[in-house]
Amino acid sequence: MPVYKHTIDFLPKPSTEEVEERFKVSKAGVYAAILPLLAALIWLAAVFINFYYRNEVKQVEAEILAKRVEVDSYLETRRKQTELVLKVDSLTDLVQKDFFPQKFFDDVSDTIKSTGDAQATIYAYGREEDGMFSIEGRANSYLDLAKIMVVFTGKREFENVIIKSIHYNPERNNVNFEIKFYYSGLLEEV
C-alpha cells in the first residue's frame, strides 16, 4: 500500500473562515492599490496634456513676436504717412485762404451784371486778415443797391453778405456802398 495513504498531517489546517478571511484581505489589498494607481495615471495624463498646451503657448508667442517684427518693419511707411497727414492737415486752414484772383474779380463783375438793369461800379477791392472780402462801389440808386444785395446773397460763392456802409451822394445822386462777404469759390477752380 502507498505510504502517503497512511500519512497524518498533524499541522492544523486553516479553517474555512480563515481561508475566506485571507481571500478577503488579499482582495482588499488589490482594491486599495487601484485608487492610487488610478490617481497616478490621471495625474500623468494631466501632466502630459499640460506640457502639450505649454508648448502650444510658446509657439503662439513666437508667432506674435514674428508678427510684431513684421509690423515694426513698416515703421518708415508709418512715418511717411504721419508726415503727410500732419502736414496736409496743418495746411488745410491756409489753403482755404487761397483764392484765384481772376475768378474772384470775374465773379464779382458777373454777379453785378446778373442784376439786369441795376447799374453799379466797383472802385475798390479788399481782403482782411480774417479772410473777409470787401468791395466798394457806387450804385445809381438805393433800389439798384438792393438788387445787387439780393443777387450777391443768392450766389453760393458769397457767404455772410453784409452791407458795411452806405452813403448817399446828393451832388451826384448816387449811393456809395461797401459790402463785405466771405468768398467760398476758393478750392473749386484749379
Partner: protein
C-alpha cells in the same frame, strides 16, 4: 499475535479519529485569534486602514498633482485664445500697412510737392521779398513803398527764431508792399503769383481805383479832417496795399514726427490734398 496486530490497528484508528475530532472542535474566529498576538493586531490594523490610506493617497495626488495640472491646462487654453486674438489684430494691422506701402510712391510724391511749396529748411525771407519785387516789375507795378533791407533782416531773424520752435508748427512769413498800376496789370500780377510754383497767400489786400480815392478824399473833407489820400495819382491807376504770406514748417515739426505716429487708419484731408496735387504737382 494476529490479535495484537488487530488491536494495534484499532488503536491507530482511534488516533485518527482523535485528531479528526480535535480538528472539528477547533472553531475559534480569526479576530479573536489576532487579539491574542501582536502580529495579529498589526494585520488587523492594516486590513481596516488600507482603504483609508488608499483614499488618502488618491486625494493627495489629486490635490497636489492633478488639480494644478488641470488648472495649468485651463490657463494655457485661455492664454492661447487671448493670444490668437492678438494675432488676428496684428494681421489686420499688417494688411493696413501693406496697403499703405502700396501707396508709398504717391505719398512720397505728395510729400515732395508739399516740401517744395512749404519748405522746412533755413528761411530765405530776402529771397521771397526779392521774388515778389521781380514779379511786380515784370507786370509793370510801380512799388510805392519798399521793404527796407533793415526790415527784411529783422524779419529774417524773427523767422529764424520761430523756426527753431520745439513744437510742431507752421511759421507764417509775411511781406507787405504798396504798388501803383492799372487794374489789369494788378490783376495779371496777382494771377501770376497764384500760378507760381509756390504757396503764397494774399492775406490782406486793399485795392483802390481813382473813384475810391476821390470818394475817400471827399469824405475826409466833409468830416473836416485832413485829406491824406493822394489824389495826384493818375485816373487810370489803381493803388494796392498787399501782404503776401509764405509758410515754413518749424524744426520742431521734424522732431515731432520722429517721436509720434498717427493711427494707421488716419488719412490726410482729401480736399486739401487734391487741391495741392492739382495746383502744384501738374506744374
Amino acid at each position: 499475535m494476529p490479535e495484537e496486530g488487530l488491536q494495534d490497528r484499532k488503536r491507530e484508528k482511534g488516533v485518527h479519529e482523535l485528531v479528526k475530532d480535535a480538528e472539528k472542535g477547533r472553531k475559534a474566529p480569526l479576530p479573536e485569534k489576532f487579539k491574542k498576538s501582536g502580529k495579529n493586531a498589526l494585520k488587523m490594523i492594516l486590513y481596516y486602514s488600507a482603504p483609508l490610506i488608499s483614499i488618502a493617497i488618491f486625494l493627495l495626488i489629486l490635490v497636489l498633482g492633478t488639480i494644478p495640472a488641470v488648472k495649468g491646462i485651463v490657463q494655457s487654453n485661455n492664454e492661447i485664445e487671448e493670444k490668437n486674438g492678438e494675432i488676428k489684430e496684428l494681421e489686420k494691422q499688417i494688411k493696413v500697412l501693406e496697403a499703405l506701402r502700396l501707396n508709398e510712391a504717391d505719398v512720397n510724391m505728395d510729400l515732395a510737392t508739399i516740401d517744395k511749396i512749404v519748405p522746412s529748411e533755413k528761411t530765405q525771407v530776402a529771397k521771397f521779398v526779392g521774388e515778389i519785387e521781380e514779379m511786380a516789375k515784370l507786370y509793370n507795378l510801380e512799388e510805392s513803398k519798399y521793404e527796407s533791407g533793415e526790415t527784411i533782416e529783422k524779419l529774417e531773424e524773427e523767422i529764424e527764431e520761430e523756426l527753431k520752435k520745439e513744437s510742431a508748427a507752421i511759421i507764417h512769413i509775411p511781406t507787405s508792399s504798396e504798388y501803383i498800376a492799372t487794374f489789369e496789370d494788378i490783376k495779371e500780377f496777382l494771377n501770376a503769383l497764384y500760378y507760381k510754383d509756390d504757396f503764397i497767400i494774399v492775406s490782406s489786400l486793399d485795392m483802390q481805383g481813382y473813384e475810391a480815392r476821390e470818394y475817400q478824399a471827399g469824405r475826409q473833407r466833409e468830416m473836416g479832417e485832413q485829406v491824406t489820400i493822394d489824389t495826384t495819382i493818375p485816373v487810370t491807376e489803381w493803388t494796392m496795399k498787399v501782404t503776401f504770406e509764405k509758410y515754413q514748417f518749424s524744426e520742431g515739426f521734424s522732431k515731432y514726427l520722429e517721436e509720434n505716429l498717427v493711427s494707421m487708419q488716419s488719412k490726410p484731408n482729401e480736399e486739401t490734398l487734391i487741391f495741392i496735387r492739382e495746383k502744384y504737382s501738374s506744374q
